[in-house]
């Protein structure tokens, strides 16, 4: 198993700095969902990780912890993540994206 980035929607949707999406070295990997968290009354959307593209460098963790100071991203073993986005389940829309979350590794 290997580590991938996992973003806490509750923290991210309350702040929405989008820094991790700008600093990720991999394209189309940290994406943004304008609607995420709004069902919980959180103000903004949230970033999420297409875990099949994440190389596990943890640059986003440094950026979130030290530049944004939001501490919303943790590196987690991919088989420990319950719900994650895979590229094949990501839908691009006019000004946002939407991912259907699934268990990334079959149990």
């Amino acid at each position: 198993m290997y580590l991938v980035a996992n973003i806490d929607v509750n923290i991210c949707a309350a702040t929405s700095c989008k820094l991790c999406t700008q600093y990720c070295p991999e394209a189309n990997t940290i994406l943004y969902d304008e609607e995420a968290g709004k069902e919980k009354g959180l103000k903004y959307g949230a970033a999420y990780v297409a875990v099949d593209r994440c190389k596990g460098c943890a640059q986003c963790v440094w950026v979130c912890d030290n530049m944004a100071k939001h501490h919303a991203i943790k590196m987690e073993m991919i088989d420990q993540i319950e719900q994650a986005a895979l590229t094949e389940n990501i839908q691009y829309k006019e000004k946002t994206t939407k991912a259907q979350l699934t268990k990334p590794v079959p149990a």
Partner: protein, 296 residues
């Protein structure tokens, strides 16, 4: 080299891979996107084999987002890590023999101008410090002396990272590397100074820890190269393998290096300023109103 080459042949769209369909329907072609919108549109850079956490990858990604007209852009590269990612983007990439990328780009740029006339077709060279300053040094400088109208971007990782860690002309003095165990004996080459002397209309040094600045620099360089003359960007893109930088500290290193010896700098000729102001509406380069005379 046009929006049409991205479109599906009628009836074939449903057979195309999802990534391709996303790119055609939600990519940056034919519309303006910016770094601040990243994560909400399909980027032209695809998956590639470059190392995890590579700052060069981040810079290339930001550059691809920043091209003013990606559908009218051709990249030219040469041997080195960067070409592993640059070649995996949905814009044409020409791979020159080691060091001849600026010669290839010269012919390409001239040919495109003959073929397409006034319609802007941007040629952007992206090569490493070895390809630009060492092995390709003569061709790089001569393209500048000839005032060839294209952008040269040096991905400066200050080492030959692909071949085990030999020193390059851009390595800092006294730097010890795997294949330079006694440390480099000479100073880092002043390519920025040479670019100015050789007649580049726009020269900038930049570090990828400020994405919006990278975007601004790339846009200016590409636009100026359309009409005014050669432009040069020198980007610090650390090699976290050869310099043993933990991947989660790459941006911390970039920040430290920027504060220490790789400060942002920008040189732009008056002609280029006037061009950006008049043709592309850059307010920062509009003539300042004359100061009101103060009564003594």
């Amino acid at each position: 080299m046009s929006l049409d080459y991205m479109k599906f042949t009628p009836g074939f769209g449903k057979f195309m891979p999802k990534e391709y369909r996303d790119l055609v329907e939600h990519g940056p072609f034919g519309r303006k996107v910016s770094v601040s919108q990243v994560g909400t549109f399909k980027e032209i850079l695809e998956e590639h084999p470059m190392c995890a956490g590579c700052a060069m990858t981040l810079f290339i990604r930001l550059a691809m987002i920043s091209f003013p007209n990606p559908e009218d852009t051709i990249t030219v590269g040469t041997a080195g890590c960067g070409r592993l990612a640059i070649s995996q983007a949905a814009i044409p990439f020409v791979y020159g023999n080691y060091g001849d990328q600026n010669g290839v780009a010269s012919g390409l740029s001239r040919g495109l101008r003959l073929r397409f006339g006034d319609r802007p077709k941007d040629v952007v060279v992206m090569a490493g410090d070895g390809g630009t300053a060492d092995i390709g040094f003569a061709q790089t400088l001569h393209s500048w002396f000839r005032k060839e109208k294209f952008t040269t971007i040096m991905l400066d990782n200050e080492v030959y990272g692909n071949t085990g860690g030999q020193e390059s002309g851009m390595t800092n003095k006294n730097q010890v590397l795997k294949m330079a165990p006694l440390g480099k004996k000479f100073e880092k080459m002043d390519m920025v100074g040479m670019a100015k002397v050789a007649g580049c209309a726009y020269v900038a040094t930049v570090v990828p820890n400020n994405p919006r600045r990278v975007e601004s620099v790339i846009k200016k360089a590409v636009l100026i190269a359309r009409e005014i003359g050669p432009t040069y960007i020198q980007a610090y893109t650390s090699c976290n393998i050869e310099y043993a930088i933990p991947t989660d500290k790459v941006m911390e290193d970039a920040k430290n290096v920027e504060n220490d010896r790789y400060r942002f700098s920008e040189y732009i000729t008056d002609e280029a300023k006037q061009y950006l102001a008049e043709v592309y509406g850059y307010k920062e380069y509009l003539p300042k109103p004359a100061q009101a005379l103060t009564k003594s």
